[in-house]
Symmetry: C2
Amino acid sequence: MTPTGDLFHVYDTTLRDGAQQEGLTLSVADKLAVARHIDGLGVGFIEGGWPGANPRDTEFFRRARAELHLEHARLAAFGATRRAGLAAADDPLVAALRDSGAGVVTLVAKSHDRHVELALRTTLAENLAMVRDTVSHLRAEGQRVFLDAEHFFDGYRDNRDYALEVLRTAFEAGAEVAALCDTNGGMLPGWVGDVVHDVVETTGVRVGIHCHNDTGCAVANTLAAVDAGATHVQGTLNGYGERTGNADLVTVVANLELKLDRQVLPPGLLAEATRVAHAVAEVTNVPPASRQPYVGTSAFAHKAGLHASAIKVDPDLYQHMDPAGVGNDMRLLVSDMAGRASIELKGRELGFELGPELVQRVTGRVKELESRGWTFEAADASFELLLLEEVEGTRPSYVEVESWRVITETRVAADALSEATVKLRAGGARIVVTGEGNGPVNALDSALRQAISQLYPEIVKFELIDYKVRILDQGHGTDAITRVLIETTDGQGSWVTVGVGPNVIEASWHALIDGLTFGLRRHDA
Amino acid sequence: MTPTGDLFHVYDTTLRDGAQQEGLTLSVADKLAVARHIDGLGVGFIEGGWPGANPRDTEFFRRARAELHLEHARLAAFGATRRAGLAAADDPLVAALRDSGAGVVTLVAKSHDRHVELALRTTLAENLAMVRDTVSHLRAEGQRVFLDAEHFFDGYRDNRDYALEVLRTAFEAGAEVAALCDTNGGMLPGWVGDVVHDVVETTGVRVGIHCHNDTGCAVANTLAAVDAGATHVQGTLNGYGERTGNADLVTVVANLELKLDRQVLPPGLLAEATRVAHAVAEVTNVPPASRQPYVGTSAFAHKAGLHASAIKVDPDLYQHMDPAGVGNDMRLLVSDMAGRASIELKGRELGFELGPELVQRVTGRVKELESRGWTFEAADASFELLLLEEVEGTRPSYVEVESWRVITETRVAADALSEATVKLRAGGARIVVTGEGNGPVNALDSALRQAISQLYPEIVKFELIDYKVRILDQGHGTDAITRVLIETTDGQGSWVTVGVGPNVIEASWHALIDGLTFGLRRHDA
C-alpha cells in the first residue's frame, strides 16, 4: 500500500466504468493485464468490475485472487445496494460482493429522488433502508465500504435534503467515503465546487468525486471538487467511459502533482504515466488519442515554424512543463509548416549535421511527398531512409525487385486464402518465391522473408508488430488514397515505415520493403 | 452580421491555430470549404491564416475576396507586429495584413518579457513600440485590430507590469480587444479567472481568451475567463490545434448557451453544431472523436444494460440535455453489455416488434459475432439484415456467389493494378465477369456491379462513399483480424455495413455484398 493511499484516494475505474465505452470490450485476460499496468502507476484502488452481475467480472475476481499480485493498489468490487424488499444477507448479488475477495466494496446508491421513484421504482424510505442495510451487512462481514452516490449533483439540485440524507445514512452504517457522481455529466466546475463545499460543511462526511466529460470539463470538475475538500478522485485511464468518457485519471493526477503541488501517487511513479497509458491502449485496442494531455504523442510536439526556431533557443519557452515528468518526450514534427529549422534539428536528432543546401533539398522533398499523402511525423524510419538517400546520394537497398503479384481467392463457404509471388535479385542471384498468408500483405511479407532469409539470417528476428491502414480521402469509397504504417521490431527496438498509394497492397509493399531495409541497415551499422 | 457579434465575440481560429495540428494539412480549397461550414454555425469571426507569411494563406485571402460569401462571420487576418527597427508602413508583412481584404487584423504580440528578450531578441521598449506602431498604422489604414497577447499568463506571472503595459499600449493605439493567450497551455481555471479579473479591473480593456488543452482544461479555462469578464472567446472546431489542441469552440459555445444561458450565436444555429463539426472533419480528414462533448457520435449513446432499461422509462433520467439542441441524437448501441432491452428498442426503431424469444436469439447472435470482432454499433444496415434473417428465417439475397478471385500485381516502376474475377448466379443465369481497379476492393466492387447491373439497374445509383479499415488486434502485424466498414449511398440515403476476418479482402467482400443487398432491398420495399 502507498503511504498516501488513505489520506487521498486515487481510485481507478477503467475496468468498470471505463469498459462502458462504445467499442471497448475486455476479456478476463485483458482485465488482468490492464490491472497490472495501472498498478504500475501507483494508484490506491482499482475497481475491477461487478462480480455476480456478469460472468466475466465474476471470473475476473476469481482469477485475480490467484493471479493478480498488486504492488500498490487494492482491488475494489463494484455493486448495487440490496434489492427492495429483500434482506441484505439474502441478496445473492450482495453475497457476490462480500465474496469477491477484493476487500473493498464500492456500492452504488441512488441519491436522486426521481431516480429512486422512476428507475428503481421504490419509495424514498425503502431506498434509504437499502443503503443502511447493505452497508451495515458488508461492514459486519469485514468489508471496507465506499459509496458511489449516483446522479448526486442532479439529485442535490432537485431535492438537496434527500441527497444529503442518503450520504448520512451510508456513513451512519459505516461507509468511509461518498463519491459524488455527476452521472449524466452535465456539471460545470463552479457548480461542482459549490455543491462539494456544502456537502463537506453540512455533513462532515469524507467526499469523493466521479465526473464524466459531457461538458468537456471532467478534469476541471474533479479539480474543483478537490479544491472544495474532496479527498478521493475517480477516473479512468485515457478517459475511457460511456458517452464522452470519464475524467482522465492521468490528467487529474498530473495536474494535482505538477500544477497544484499535491503528492497523490508514490513519489516518482507519475513518470510512468505515458508508458502505462499507452500500454493500456494496446490492451484495449482503442487507438491512443495523440492530443491527449500529458501523455499524447502530440502533447509536446511542435509543428509551427515560428516555434521550432524559438525552441532552438530555449525549450522551456514553449512547453508548460518538462515532459520527462510524465515520461513523455518533446518531439519535433517533420512537416511543411515546420520549415527548415525543424528539418535541421531532426537531422541532428538522427546524427546528421545537414548543411543549408541539403536542408533545403530535404525540406522540398518532404513537402512534395506530404502533399501526396505521405507522412513522416509518424514514420521516423522512412524519414531516415529519405535523409540517407539525400546525404549518400543513393537509397540503401538490399534487394532489387523485379515484380510481385498477390492472388486472393475464395470458393463457396471456404475462407479466403492469399498467395504472393515475388521475383527479385539479391546477393547476385535471381530468386523467385511464393508465400501464403491469410491476407494479401501477410502473404507478401512471408514471400519476401523466404526470399532473403538465407542471405540475411538476422531477419528471422524481425517481426511486424503493428499494421495500420488509413484511407486518406474518405468520401471516395474504395477508390481512395491509402496510407499504411508498419511497425517492425527486432526484439530490441522498433521502427515505423510508411507507404502511400491508391492500391492498399502496393502501399503496404512500400512500407514492408522500407521496414526491412531500415532493419538490415541497423544490423549492418 | 449577427446582432450579438459585437457584444460577445465568438472567434474561430481553426484555419490558423487549428491547422498547426500534427497530421492536419489544408489546401486552399479545403480552407474555403471549412470557412463556409463554420459560417453555418454563426460565429462572429473566422481567422483565415497569415497572409504574406506563407503562399497558401496569401492565396486563401485572395480567393476569399472573390469566392467566399459569408453570411454571419467576418474574416480576420492573423499576423505579427512589425519587425524590430523597421517602420510599420515599410514592413511587407504588415502591408500583407492591410491588403488581405479581411477588414479585421489579429496581431500577435509578445507580452512575456523573457520571450521578447530570448525569442524576439529585442528590448522591452522596442517591443512596446512595435505594438504601438503596428496597431496605429493599421488603424490609420482603416482596419479593426484585435490583439493576441502571446504567452500572456506566463508573462503575467513573471512580470505583471510589463504584460499589462503591452495591453495598455495596444489599446491606446486603437486595438479593440486583447485576447489573453495561454500559449503553452499550462493554466488551470482558478488561475485564469484570477488573472482575467485583475486585467479587467486594472486596465479596463476589453478582454478575450485563447486557451490550449495541455492540462485538459481548455474549455473550463475559457469559461472561467468569461465568468471573470472576458467577452471574446477563441477556439477551433473539434479542438484542433498544436500539441493537445485548442479549446473546442463548439463545446465552449454549447456550455455558454445551454448551461449558462448566454446567447452567443444567432438563435437556432447551435443546432447546426453536430453537422458542422462532422462536415469540417470530412474536409480535414481527421477522424471525428466519438467521445467529443455534445457532437461526438457517442456523446449521447448508451451502452450499459442498467441504463438502457431505465431509458425506456424516461430519457431525461440519463442525459444531461436534449441532444437535439446541438443537432445530435440519442442512440442505443447494440452490444453485449446492452442486453435485451436495447435489442428490443433497436428493433422497434427499425420497425419490428420482437417477441421475447426472438430478442433472446438475436441477442445471442450479436454477442457471438461481436466476440469475433464484428460490430453493429456502427453498422445499422448489417444489423437490419441480421434481424431480417432471424425474423423471416432467411437472409435477403440477390445473388448466389460461386467464387471470386483478385490478383494484384506490379512490375518494376509501374503502378500496381488489381483485377477481380467474380463467378455468380443471379436471375437464373450464371455470370462470370472480370473487373479492374486501382486496388483489390475497388476491382471487386467493379466486377460485382458489372455482373448484376442489367438485372438490377438501380445499382447504377449506388456509390461507395466511405471505406474504413481497422486492424482489431494491433500488435499482431499483418496477421491480425481486420474490420471493414463500408458506407453506400443511393443519392437519397446512406447505410453502413460491416465485414470482419483475417483477410482484409474477404472482410471487404462481406461488407460490399451486404451493402448491395441492403440497398436492393430498400428499393424493393
